[in-house]
């Protein structure tokens, strides 16, 4: 069973199967068990999928999270893909999902997810991380918690340091 990391650094078994985008002209085939499918396909078939707790979506780094704006909390899980760890668009997508669209359920980082980026992902609202398979999952908890506080407000805190200092 594959594993994911939770935001408090725990390692847990992963139930979800990631479903790639079907080739042009082909229809999507759901596996048995819970599945994460491309967001636009979910949205196009919303009547069929909304409210199902075994079907979530994933966004590509260039996808507009706004396409899910009116239905985020109909989803049990949203994953955001990092095609390469240097592609930082997913951080903005995560904050928008959490802070603008009010998404409450699991938000997962997938793709080129490495150890040294976990701290940023956590602050932007990701609460689970599918670490790239060759990375040492035992180091995740340490890397999530390099910092005990931060200067800025982000998804994880409404209290930037400048507000804490003068309060």
């Amino acid at each position: 069973m594959p594993e994911v990391i939770t935001q408090d650094g725990q390692i847990k078994a992963d139930q979800w199967t990631l479903v790639e985008r079907p080739a042009e002209g082909e229809t999507i085939e759901l596996p048995t068990g819970p599945a994460i499918i491309p967001a636009d396909i979910w949205y196009a078939n919303k009547n069929q999928f909304a409210g199902r707790d075994d079907v979530g979506v994933w966004l590509e780094s260039h996808d507009e999270p706004g396409i899910l704006a009116d239905s985020v909390n109909d989803l049990p899980i949203i994953a955001v893909n990092f095609p390469k760890f240097t592609d930082g668009r997913g951080y903005s997508s995560a904050r928008l999902l959490r802070e603008r669209y009010g998404y409450k359920n699991e938000l997962r980082a997938i793709g080129d997810v490495l150890l040294d980026q976990l701290q940023f992902m956590k602050r932007c609202g990701f609460d689970s991380y599918a670490l790239r398979a060759d990375k040492d999952i035992q180091l995740a908890a340490h890397c999530l918690n390099f910092f005990s506080q931060a200067y800025q407000a982000a998804t994880d805190t409404n209290e930037p340091l400048f507000r804490r200092r003068v309060s």
Binding site: C124, F146, F147, Y151, Q152, R165
Partner: protein, 550 residues
């Protein structure tokens, strides 16, 4: 000057520990080179032509004497005993060993210094006017706003992997622009609106490099408390929509151009409308707290042109020239702003030895309240010197080579490290600077020429700011040989402009003569009150072209 509290100290200590962990994993082979690359870059560490290069951050150019002494110690203990002032107010070490870098950072952290975000595709050091707080024509001191931006941008979780590097500069003077804000990704001018309220005029999308541009204004007036939320909106639009498919088209200027400044501004306003009242909105208390660190030093009540100064000037011609050239008016009577020039012929522009760093620390302590500033022209400023102590200071800095009275002249050259050190360079730049300095070794002639910015870059990345030099020189590689392209008419001041290329490039040995011909055209055509740039703008590029390529 800003002083760390327990929060700043804790965050920095954790950062040092984090980088040590990352370096250990890289050295053990657990972190692939391409994975370590952005981590070390965001910590200022390049792997260069001859050795790693560590770029140490000097927030908005301000240094205390204890920090200068620590830089001297670090350059002595871990390097070859010298350091280099950069064109973005930072300091570089050219030869540290990778495995020593965590220890260097730990030593720097003890004096509240670091190498955060001095490289990489993130928000870089925020820069400002080197005369901030000491000059008379600024609306307010810009440094508290720079410090506020520094804290906001430090390890910002959303903007650590931008499409490309991102540079912010702040200027608070209505008459001058020593921070060159219009050639930054974001240029912030501190202004008053018609109601007399303080705020910011925001330029976005200026920059040098491969596609030089003067940044358009995307907001005429941003209220003071909205600074960070608006910056966050600009950065979010850039992070989401800036190009990532081509590194040469990834700077924000390309996005602003593609969307048009109006289109870009609209997108930013839309984003900002959602977050303008978020917890990131500044509070008056938060601004006041940072401002409280930038209070005036304990100035004495003095008057201008004291007798001792007048006497020394009439007695010592060289001193008199130095006062004329290398000091500027101060807002307080009886004080002067002094620039120590790091441009002695034969020394690479901006290079200083460990002993020179300690000497600067000593004169800063003795003559300028223990503080110094690095300028983007690669010089060092003592901002608060008593006029009746100028002669003593001049005598103290002369033996160290900092009293070359050529500030803002043809031989006060901005120059990147170039092909002698930098792995990116196409050509050497330091020997070109030196050959031009040698050609123009008559100081009286150089004074007569007036203010001329001569800027040299060894490649397109434009660290030597060649596009905005009145005379710009760019090193290019032609079939493995080094050539130099000349441009004229650039400016980084309030009248910012990008220089125009004169024509085909030149071999290095011809460069001093080319510059001489350009200068001769200026001298023959200028009117009494004109500086180089005025003459160029009046007569255009053709007379220069005809002479140089005759």
């Amino acid at each position: 000057m800003y002083v760390y509290d327990e929060h700043d100290r804790q965050i920095l200590a954790e950062r040092v520990a984090q980088f040590r962990h990352q370096t250990d994993r890289a050295l053990a082979g657990d972190l692939a080179e391409d994975e370590f690359l952005p981590l070390r870059l965001q910590n200022g560490l390049y792997v260069q032509r001859l050795a790693p290069m560590l770029r140490i951050c000097v927030p908005y150019g301000m240094l205390r004497s204890d920090q200068l002494r620590r830089l001297a110690k670090v350059s002595r203990d871990y390097d070859k005993g010298y350091a280099h002032f950069t064109t973005r107010q930072n300091v570089q070490l050219n030869w540290p060993a990778l495995e020593d870098v965590p220890d260097i950072l730990a030593e720097l952290a003890e004096v509240e210094m670091h190498a955060n975000q001095t490289s990489g595709n993130c928000i870089r050091n925020t820069t400002t006017d080197q005369f901030a707080g000491a000059q008379s024509d600024e609306l307010v001191d810009p440094r508290p706003y720079c410090e506020i931006i520094r804290q906001w941008s430090t390890y910002h979780p959303e903007f650590a992997f931008l499409p490309r590097k991102f540079k912010v500069a702040v200027n608070a003077s209505e008459l001058t622009d020593r921070a060159a804000v219009q050639v930054h990704d974001i240029g912030i001018e501190i202004v008053h609106n018609d109601a007399g309220e303080l705020g910011f005029r925001v330029h976005v999308g200026g920059g040098l490099g491969r596609t030089p541009m003067v940044g358009p204004v995307i907001r005429e007036f941003l209220p003071e408390l909205d600074l960070l939320t608006y910056l966050e909106a600009v950065l979010r639009v850039y992070n989401r929509y800036g190009r990532r498919d081509n590194k040469y088209k990834a700077r924000i200027k390309i996005l602003v151009k593609a969307l048009t400044p109006e289109g870009f501004a609209e997108k930013v306003e839309e984003e900002w409308s959602h977050i303008k009242d978020s917890p990131t909105r500044l509070t008056p208390d938060a601004i006041a707290r940072v401002q409280s660190y930038f209070t005036e030093p304990d100035y004495a009540a003095l008057s201008n042109d004291p007798e001792t100064l007048v006497a020394a000037r009439s007695e010592h011609k060289a001193f008199d020239k130095w006062v004329t050239r290398n000091t500027d008016a101060h807002k307080k009577p009886g004080y002067a702003i002094v620039t120590l020039t790091m441009k002695k012929t034969g020394v690479p522009p901006g290079d200083v030895s460990d002993l020179q760093l300690e000497h600067i620390a000593n004169v800063a302590d003795r003559y300028s309240f223990g503080e110094a500033r690095v300028t983007h022209q690669q010089n060092v400023v003592l901002a608060d010197v008593r006029q009746d102590e100028l002669y003593e200071l001049w005598q103290a800095i002369k033996p160290m080579g900092f009293a070359t009275a050529n500030l803002n002249t043809l031989t006060d050259i901005i120059c990147c490290p170039g092909g002698d050190y930098c792995a990116l360079a196409n050509a050497k730049s330091i020997p070109i600077a030196e050959s031009i300095q040698r050609k123009f070794d008559n100081l009286d002639y150089v004074y007569d020429l007036g203010d001329i910015d001569l800027n040299i870059s060894g490649c397109m990345n434009a660290c030597g700011h060649h596009h905005v030099g009145h005379i710009g020189v760019l090193g290019v590689d032609k079939k493995g040989e080094e050539f130099y392209q000349v441009s004229l008419g650039g400016s980084s001041q309030r009248d910012a402009s990008i220089g125009k290329i004169l024509g085909p490039s030149f071999a290095s040995e011809h460069m001093p003569n080319v510059i001489e011909k350009i200068i001769n055209v200026f001298v023959e055509n200028r009117t009494d009150e004109e500086a180089f740039l005025d003459t160029y703008r009046r007569i255009g590029i053709t007379p220069f072209k005809e002479r140089v390529y005759a």
